[in-house]
Subunit: 376 residues, 2 copies
C-alpha cells in the first residue's frame, strides 16, 4: 500500500487535514476584502505567538527570505554581531556578510553562546545582533532573553530567528527586546512551507537603512498592510495564506499555552526515551541554554550507522533527520513540531528502538515505555 511517509523532521511537518484542504479551493482575488480578512486573521494569531504588539507581515517566501528581510532592512553597512552555534546561525551570518560588516561569535554547534564576546562586540560598536533562538541543527535553545538584555543595554537592534520556536515554544519578543523576529510557516505552525513572518519594532522602523531588496522592502509591506483591505505589496501565495489562516485558527482553538505545553511534553517523551536507551542528548547546555522542545538531537552510539538506521526507520514509513554538515553520521534528530501528538511520537520511538537494535546497539532500557510514562 502506498501511503504518505510520517515526517518527524524539524520541518516540514505533517499538516492537519483542515489546513491542507484550505488550499484546494478556487483562486480568489488578493486585492479583495476576503483576502484582507484572511491576512488579518493570520496576523492576529501570529502576534500572540510572537509575543508582540509590533507590526507583523507575511512574506511569500521561505524562512530564509524572512531572515534576509530582517538583515537587509536595518543592516546595510552596519557592524553586525552574529551568534553561531549551528547551521542557521551560520546562515544569518552569511546573509549579514552581504549587507554589513559581520562579526561571527562562534561556538561549537550545540554548545553555549559566548555572551562575553557579545559584550565585547557591543562595546566595539556593533549596532545589530543576530541570534537563532532554537537551533534545529543541534537541538539547542539559546538564551534570547539574555541576548535581548545585552542589546538594550548597548542600544543595538536585536534580530531573532524564531523559525522553529514561534508557535511551539514560549516566545516573548516584546518582553525580551526583540526588534525583528522571524518565523516560518512549515514548522511549529504545521502549515505548508513557503511563507515567512516578520515582526518589526518601532526602534527598527526608526533605523531602516537604504535600498533593501525590492521584494523584501519592509516599508512596502507596512504600506500595503495598513490599507483597507489589508494587502501585500506583491501578489501573495494565496493558497498558502488560506492554509496558514486555518493553522492559526487551530492554534487559537488549542490555546497557545496548551500548545507550548504539548510541545514540551512531546520532546520530554523523546528525551526520556534517549535516556532509557543510554544515549546522550547532543547539546551541551547550561543554566541559560536548554534542550529544544521542537526537535531533539541525539548522539549515535558507537557502531550504529546513520544511513542504515534511518533506512530501517523509513522502511516502517517514518522519516527522522540525520545530522547536517559535519554532524552527518554523528547525531539523529526527531522533530516534535506542530500538530504532533502521542501516536506519532510513540510510533517513531518504537521504530527507532527497533532500528537501534537492528543496527547492533543494545539499549540500556525500554525507551518506548519511558516515553509512554511521560505521555500517559
Amino acid at each position: 500500500m502506498e501511503k504518505e511517509l510520517l515526517l518527524m523532521l524539524p520541518g516540514p511537518v505533517p499538516m492537519p487535514e483542515r489546513v491542507r484542504l484550505a488550499m484546494s479551493r478556487q483562486a480568489i482575488n488578493h486585492r479583495s476584502a476576503e483576502f484582507g480578512a484572511v491576512y488579518a486573521d493570520c496576523v492576529r494569531v501570529l502576534k500572540t505567538a510572537f509575543g508582540t504588539t509590533n507590526d507583523l507581515f507575511v512574506i511569500s517566501g521561505s524562512g530564509t527570505a524572512g531572515m534576509e528581510a530582517a538583515v537587509s532592512n536595518v543592516g546595510k553597512d552596519k557592524e553586525i554581531a552574529c551568534f553561531v552555534n549551528g547551521k542557521f546561525g551560520e546562515r544569518l551570518y552569511k546573509i549579514s556578510q552581504r549587507y554589513g560588516t559581520a562579526h561571527e561569535i562562534k561556538s561549537e554547534w550545540g554548545t553555549p553562546l559566548n555572551l562575553a564576546a557579545l559584550e565585547e562586540q557591543l562595546e566595539k560598536g556593533a549596532e545589530i545582533v543576530t541570534l537563532v533562538h532554537n537551533e534545529t541543527s543541534a537541538g539547542i535553545k539559546n538564551p534570547a532573553q539574555e541576548v535581548g538584555r545585552l542589546c538594550r543595554k548597548h542600544d543595538a537592534l536585536f534580530i531573532m530567528d524564531g523559525i522553529t520556536s514561534v508557535g511551539g515554544d514560549l516566545v516573548e519578543a516584546d518582553k525580551w527586546g526583540v526588534d525583528i523576529a522571524i518565523t516560518g510557516s512549515q514548522k511549529c505552525f504545521a502549515a505548508p512551507a513557503g511563507l515567512a513572518m516578520v515582526s518589526v519594532s518601532s526602534r527598527a522602523w526608526e533605523r531602516l537603512t537604504k535600498n533593501p531588496p525590492f521584494y523584501l522592502d519592509l516599508a512596502a509591506y507596512k504600506k500595503s498592510a495598513s490599507g483597507k483591505p489589508m494587502e501585500t505589496p506583491y501578489t501573495p501565495a494565496v493558497p498558502l495564506f488560506l492554509a496558514l489562516r486555518e493553522a492559526c485558527l487551530l492554534i487559537e482553538e488549542e490555546g497557545l499555552p496548551a500548545r507550548i505545553a504539548r510541545h514540551q511534553k512531546m520532546s520530554g517523551a523523546i528525551q526520556a526515551a534517549a535516556k532509557a536507551w543510554g544515549l546522550a542528548l547532543f547539546p551541551k547546555i547550561d543554566k541559560l541554554h536548554g534542550y529544544s522542545s521542537t526537535v531533539t538531537a541525539i548522539e549515535y552510539p558507537a557502531g550504529v550507522k546513520d544511513d542504515e538506521m534511518r533506512a530501517a526507520i523509513k522502511k516502517m514509513g517514518i522519516v527522522i533527520a540525520g545530522g547536517q554538515d559535519h554532524l552527518k553520521g554523528k547525531i539523529f534528530r526527531i522533530g516534535s513540531m506542530g500538530a504532533v501528538s502521542a501516536p506519532e511520537i510513540l510510533a517513531t520511538l518504537a521504530a527507532t528502538q527497533y532500528a537501534l537494535k537492528k543496527c547492533g546497539y543494545t539499549s540500556k532500557g525500554n525507551g518506548v515505555e519511558a516515553a509512554a510514562e511521560v505521555l500517559g
Copy 2:
C-alpha cells in the same frame, strides 16, 4: 447560494480542479527524490513554454521576486536601459534603480516603445536592457524579437518579463536572444500564485555581478538544481510546486501550439465584442506591436463609470479588472489567460454587455453574438 467568483482578471485566474487538488496532499520532504521529480517535470515543460534550452529555476516568491532575481544577478552597478509603456515596465525600472544606473525609455502606457532611444542608450554603453513582453496594465504586446536583435547587435544582456505571455502566447527566448526570461505561476499557467520561474543564458552566467540578494542568488539555485535529486537552495513552497507540476502536465496534454491558438481565439472573441459594441481597444499598436492575447484592455465610453459597471458585473458573479494608476476609470480589462475557454468568455461578455447598457451606454451592435462567431 455562495459560489466562488469567476475571476476574468489578468491573474490570478481560475485553476483547473486537478491543479487545486494537488495542493491538498500531506507534506512531503523537499530533499527527496519525489520532490526532485516534481521540480524536474516543471522545468521540462517550462523550458518548452519559454522556448529555451537554458538553465531554468523555480523561485518560491511572486513574479516580482523573479524580476528582481534577474536584475540583481547581472545588473549591479551597470548601466540599465528600461523600457516603460505600462505599470510592469515601471516596476522593472524601479528594481533596476536599486542595483545600477537605470535609464527609463518611456512611452505613454499602451503606446509603442521607442526603439531609436534604445539604440541611443546602447551606443552610450547600456549593458542591460529590460522589457515587459506583454504589458497587462495596457493590453499591449511589445516587440521582444526586435529588442533582442538590438541587444545582440550591441552585446547587451536582455532581460524579458514574460510573466503574462509565457505559456499563453508564443515565446521563443533563445531565438529572440533573451538572456534572462521570467514568468509567474498564476497567469497563463493557471496555477496558484506564489512561484516565479527564471531562465538564464550562458552569456548571463558569464556576466554575473557580485552580491545579489541571498534569497535570489541564481548561482545557489543552479548548484541545488544540478544535484541528484534536483533541489532548491532554500525550503520551497511545496504545495505550489505540486500544483505547478499538474498545470505543466495539462499544458503538455493540450499541446503548447493548441494552447497558444486557444488564447488567441479567446482574446479575438473579446476584441470582436468590443468592436461590435463600438468601443476602442486601448493600445495604440503598429506593425511591431500587437494586442495582447492574454488580456484585452478596452476604453470606457463617455459617461460609463468604472465602479458602477464592474459592480454590475460582479453582481452576476464575474470579476473583471479596471485600469491601474492613472488609467483608473478610463479602461476595463478582461483576462483570457490559462484554462479559460468559451463558456467563461461568453458569460463575461454577456454580463459586460448588460452592464454597459445598465450604465447608460447604447451599444452599436451585439458583442456577444460577434464573439460567438469567433468562438463557434
